[in-house]
Amino acid sequence: MSDVSVLIEHRDGKLSDLSLQMLWKAQELSDILNGKIDAIVFSDSEKIVEDIRSEVDTIYLFKGKGFDLFNSDIFKDIIDRFLKNNHPLITMIAHSSWGMDLAPALSVSADLPLCTDCIDIEIKDGTLFAIRQIYNGKIYAKVRFRPADGYIITVRAGSFPTEKRGGRQAEVLVEEMGEGVKSDRKRILEYVESAKGEVDITQADFLLSIGRGVGDQENIPLLKELADMMGATLACSRPVVDKNWLPKYHQVGTSGKSVSPKVYLALGISGAFQHVAGIGGAGTIIAINKDPKASIFRVADYGVVEDLFKIVESLKAKLKEGS
């Protein structure tokens, strides 16, 4: 019998979507393995327990003061001990900033192989494989692990449905850690909101969104002008913010905002998954990119394979004619 463990992520008392997605996949794996599903939860309180009780067999709640702040330096040691006592075959961790800070260290300390950023997990004839995307999603890789007592996998957001399957009634095992465990070498001080600003892209009906393909800061006013002419709100992908061409509050994607406009017009955006994850709620996506293999065309409703500036000029001319 082999069990599946899932490290649950939550913030401000709210379960992350990715936690539910991992639990969804865990059901399928536990059916194949004929094992149980464990949830590992770190928290100040028991709030999060009810949200997952129907999805797992056992909830291991490590309850300690300060445990609502995610500190990999503390949690790694506790999970390491859990793995040594419980021997789950598969441990699933979110491929998030927190998961990325914890999983590789855990892999070393527990001496268990790790595969990161996986979009699927397969078991074929008793062998475990992880599926992941490399080279900006242009290639898929099927990954094999060295034989080991257990395997750690970090899961990319959006790989599985955010759905509860229900049907279980978890036993809750609470380990009271009182004042909590502290680390004298890493302290989490606070969480702060970074993406506030004068424009709220989450409320816009029509977003004109620009990416690396706009090429140069000098071109930004040109695109702003088009957005104004069209009555669109200007948004962007990560490279535009990285280069300081637009402030962070314009950014769409996992580290920016999720948006749900009626129309999303993407100019020079390649469609990295971190960006695409933010436009799931868009009604219609129109993408213009000169690379016909750009991943954005896999999610767009309409595509134009062309130099974006040619289209921008023509759009401007048409709009002037019309007015």
Partner: protein
């Protein structure tokens, strides 16, 4: 402050049509050009800035073949004081092995801070930095977008999902994985690289690191590569720029966007 930066040379695949090698274990590489991994470039810049503000030295390290030395020369041109290349020989590198090799090399170097990129643009593992931190038993933070040096400590800003940031304080020595956008990497001229090419690059092989090939068992290996499954994908609008613009305006009107 003495800083070690781990960097990698990666193929530029943004606008390339990729093909899979008949072995199914790798892509065809002969048509690709290479450069320093974007995240590592930000990590290099951050290291140089910290050195400029606090003094100390910067050492750039890569695991790779002779052709990978071009990014070390680039690092020297940016302001690194020394450069080391770890030659992996004919072993097929995976993140767990790369971090082992780096560990074996760095454990004997004097440092206060180690920087890596969050991940590499080719395989996107995001593993080497944090594995290295654990091997060296260092406190670490990942996806760092701001660094401030305090007395014996370092305060960092970490990018979380959904427009949120975490503020954390680490005791030195520590390791940070650096996110893009943390700074504006300086321009490196060809002249600068040419000048830096006079500096020596130290080369170490597996034996120099006190390891043997059979000790280096990878945690994971590629079973096979494939192209993404075919999707219906977008309806491609064709025609002249004017015709395309007209069609886009039509679609916007259809979808109830007032323009």
């Amino acid at each position: 402050m003495d800083i070690v930066v781990c960097i990698k040379r990666v193929p530029l695949t943004q606008e390339m049509d990729l093909e899979i090698d008949p072995s199914l274990k790798d892509i065809k590489r002969d048509m690709l050009s290479y450069n320093i991994n974007e995240w590592d470039n930000y990590a290099m810049e951050e290291a140089i800035r910290l050195k400029e503000n606090c003094g100390g030295t910067v050492t750039a390290i890569t695991v790779g073949k002779e052709e990978d030395e071009e990014i070390l020369r680039r690092a020297l041109a940016m302001g690194a004081d020394s450069a080391i290349r770890i030659d992996p020989g004919d072993i097929f590198l995976s993140p767990s092995l790369t971090s082992r090799l780096l560990f074996q090399c760095i454990k004997d170097i004097k440092y206060d801070l180690i920087l890596t990129g969050v991940q590499a643009d080719d395989t996107n593992d995001g593993l080497v930095g944090v594995m290295l931190a654990e091997l060296l038993n260092l406190p670490h933070s990942s996806v760092v977008i701001g660094v401030e040096v305090l007395n014996g400590d370092i305060r960092v800003r970490v990018e979380l999902e959904g427009g949120l940031e975490e503020v954390a304080q680490l005791r030195l020595p520590a390791l940070l994985t650096i996110q893009t956008g943390i700074n504006e990497p300086r321009y490196v001229s060809i002249m600068g690289i040419r000048k830096a090419s006079k500096k020596e690059i130290k080369v170490l092989d597996i034996e120099d690191l006190g390891l043997s090939k059979d000790q280096l068992v990878s945690d994971t290996e590629i079973e096979e590569l494939s192209l993404p499954p075919e999707l219906e994908g977008a309806e491609i609008i064709e025609g002249s720029a004017d015709e395309i613009a007209e069609r886009i305006i039509e679609i916007l009107k259809e979808k109830g966007v007032s323009i």
